[in-house]
């Protein structure tokens, strides 16, 4: 009986600990256990400043995927962003991908706007229409220096 209680305690302890780890990994770490199937598309931006891998992709404010990878295209001096999108989201070929900021100092995320074309993007396709990240400092300095010239 005594040995049984030791084993029960240890079992309970291990199960509780593992449950905690599982919760942390899936709910917070976003490890894909319950994640829906995805497909990936790419998009080119002149600047992705502030966007991180793992960042959120939104369509109409709803989270539909994440930023998989960001690489530099050395030939064009452009950033190529690979997005992984949920399978159930169909995007038209002329959809627009733009990089936005959540709030004033919030995280950068990719906002998708649907297009009107009949052609649907598939695995490996590229979104042609993009809007790059807007840097507030650049905007401010632009206005200041334009004011100087006049």
């Amino acid at each position: 009986m005594n040995r049984l209680t030791i084993e029960t305690y240890v079992g309970l302890f291990v199960v509780a600990g593992l449950a905690g780890m599982f919760f942390l990994a899936t709910k917070m770490g976003n490890v894909g256990v319950f994640e829906p199937e995805t497909y990936s598309v790419s998009a080119r931006f002149t600047s992705v400043s502030g966007l991180k891998e793992g960042g959120v992709v939104e369509l109409a404010g709803v989270r539909v995927g994440k930023v998989q990878k960001i690489v530099l295209d050395p030939a064009a001096y452009e950033a190529v962003v690979h997005l992984s999108l949920n399978k159930n989201v169909e995007l038209q070929e002329d959809s627009v991908a733009s990089i936005r900021t959540a709030g004033i100092i919030g995280d950068r995320y990719v906002k998708l706007s649907p297009g009107g074309s009949d052609l649907i993007l598939e695995e490996g396709d590229e979104i042609i229409e993009t809007e790059s990240a807007i840097s507030i400092e650049e905007l401010v300095s632009k206005y200041i220096f334009e004011g100087d010239k006049e």
Binding site: I6, G17, L24, A25, M28, G29
Partner: protein, 262 residues
Amino acid sequence: MINVLHRLGDSSLGFVEQAGRLLLFLLRAIASAARPPYRWQALLRQVHFIGARSALVILVAGFFTGMVLSLQFYDTLVRFGSVSLLGSAVALAMIRELAPVLTALVVIGRAGSAICSEIGIMRSQEQIDALECMAVDPYRYLLAPKLVAGVISVPLLTSLFIMIGIVGGWFVGVVLFGVSEAAFFQGMYETVTLHDIRMGFTKSLIFGLLVVWITSAKGFFLHLERYGAHGAEGVSRVTTDAVVIASISVLCADYLISAIML
């Protein structure tokens, strides 16, 4: 002058000697833990002692840590009007720093000291020599199960600490101060990444090894202590040393791991 040099050299030699002894001890213990046959029953008993019986202390400590963390962060964040970051702040601080370190410190105090004095007394009463006489390898028989149990138990305890700490943070933030529950949890889910969790658990794995390693080695080499008296006095001194050294090395290792992984 010569006397000062003599003492300096003496203590340096002692330090190097002890470091070498501890390293060899670790390698030998790991080697004997890795070789079958495995002693499941002994491992179970050690996980019960180091892990399961520390769970209650960890739960209480974690709950209050989460509460006080939430209280302090609320007081700071409310001055900047960004109370919605409370959940993220509590969860990040918990996962990356506080849970692994405090769990390790609690385990040192509760189980580490007991391991050290247990093995120290066995050494002082020549029980370990008796084992060797009977051709029982003390590394395999005594030390390997403790080491493995430490590596298993401390991460599990850390995960309990994090979960209950978040509950404590939720209690103070949401129930007492009325922060929006959605902001608390959504912020938390979105800010915490897999990297943070990996960092917390890497720490706790290393701490688990460190704690059991240092405390059991200090007890095991009781007879080689430079100023060691055998018997009660020697055991008490070596246990004090073991707790101090283990705590300090957990804190140093914490900084190093953070610096490497950030």
